[in-house]
Amino acid sequence: MTRLFVFLIAFLLIPVAPQAQVPDAPVADFTVRHVGGGRSDTIELRQLAAPSEEWFISSQELSDLLGVGRFWRTDVRKLVLRIDDRRVTFTVGARSVVGNDETIMLRQEVLYFEGEAWIPLEFLSDVLPRLSDRQASVDAQARTLSLGERRLNVLGLEVSRGGDQTELRIRLESALAFRVDDSRVRNLVIKIYGGALDPGQIRLNTAQGLVDAVRARQADGYAYVEVDLSQLASRYQSLTEDDGKTILLRMEQAPVTLIPEPQPRGTYMVQTLPPEQQGRDVEVRRVVIDAGHGGGDLGAEGLNDLREKDITLAVARQLEKILERRDNIEVILTRDGDESIGLIERTEMANRYKADLFISLHCNAWPNARARGVETYFLSPAKTEWDADVARKENAGVRAAEDLDFMLWDLVQNAWIQESATLAEEVQSRLSTDLGMNNRGVKQAGFRVLVGAFMPAILVELGFVTNREDAARLSSPAFHEAAAESMADAIVQFRARMDAIRERSR
């Protein structure tokens, strides 16, 4: 009788017992691309939590993919991955992931299937970048997964030698503006705007050809690659390859008889122009100075009732006077009064007058009084790369045509990116040194007024109207004149540099 009860109860309970995970859960092969490494793998993922379309990766595949240690504790059904010296813990049946002393909730819980833990793919795309220096992006539709170190865009360094030449190549993820500083003896410093690198990866400790050593360092917004040259190096060229994705420095050794005596300031090293820049006529004869804001657009407002539009106009007029009288450079002002002019109109004016340089003057503001100093901007090139990519992706639609137009428009300014960077460096260095102001550096941003200028173009922030010290200066006519003189000196210096390059290329 008792057996009858047990049988009946067991029989009746079968339909309501928890279902095991469906063995025929959808399976798909995802292609894994290792960004920067060139390697690609295929992994098998499953959808284990229907009706959710979340993909799951087995703990074995995940640890192989990341190349990390995996520990499985059967008693508590916990999985521990050791990712870059950090313990990341998953628990079967739970949504929490514990790592870096913080708990992050996944949308799906970790599941147990075919003898191991399966992790929702959102871990890779959403959680991994927060727990480590790695990043991953998932495209479920295209069945692809990209893995890489976080945001590094200076990817590698190669040095090769042949004959009297040594070539040093810096590989970038995308084209970035750079500048080579050769002011020190037997040393070149390549400043890469927007560059992000791992100093351990970009280095050379043993001499190869004309390169003695290479070091790299990361600054806020820039990457620096420093090259020590052999005594035999007599000159170098800086070029780009692969649509700007490789910076190439070609060092040459002069015939022994021609090696000059060592000179105190490294002037024996001659920079020659990269071929794509040769013949480009940067002759500074006409400059468009743009006094920011105007009319109903007051610009930033600060202490002592300072208004940006008044200061920029005062400095623009001074700069016009100095450049025309002292330096014989023709100046066109985008506005010579309190007028309102559109941002694009200002650049169009510079293009229409075939100006050789475009300089937009501005003053800065900040919610408190702490921010102070000068900074100089040139246009960020990253946008173009992006729009080009978008245009490629969407080449079937109207949107593509729009993006392509924008892309071409941006390319106009990008053609002058190196010169813009050089001009920005000259102006920033002069302003901060001559005026003794806080140096906030040369930066890049997607400023509207710089887009579409068919010439080297920069935007100068002369100081903060919201800082007591800066505001006192900005309200003084003597400062307007000093700032104008300092910028004029920088423009003349830039002109001399461009003239020298043009001379050499003849």
């Binding site: 339909p15 610009g299 800065n364 509207r448 919201t466």
Partner: protein, 186 residues
Amino acid sequence: MKPWVGLVIAGALVALLGGAVWFAMTFRGEVEEEPEAAVLSDPLELGSRAISLYFARADGQGFVRETRTIAVARRRDAEVEIVLGQLLSGPRSKAALHVFPTHSRLRQAFYDEERRLLYLDFNDALVANLNPGSAIELAVMGSLLRTLAVDFPEIERVQILVDGLEVETLGGHLDLTRPLRTGDWL
């Protein structure tokens, strides 16, 4: 015990368990048929997650990261609204500064999943109440874009709208006529 007593008990058990099975199956069916919105009305069902918010440093030279925990929403745009609501409410750290203009508010977020493009529609206080220094514009956009880049890595681009319309810039500097790429702001 007489045999019929056992049979009665067995019959009662069968009826009871049968009823329980019927109820469980019927009940499960009802839940499945519930409209999605009703199921999701309780955000706790989806759990919560930690997010990172980036606020401008008080001296304007970088950002300060703060973490919060929010209820997870099923739709990306709904979750973006929650995260940016937290961001617009300002920092807790004294090292950070609230750079968003007074009364600025996110009206709506809309995520175009196919193009990985997020539209953020703000009220006009974002423009009208801004003291237009480039540093402030860059801090406002940096704070938004960096937060989105970290909390929503799948969002690739962000188009800023004000009162439903595209704007050229916030205050005469940063070009907003096209989407901004989140990756550029990390």
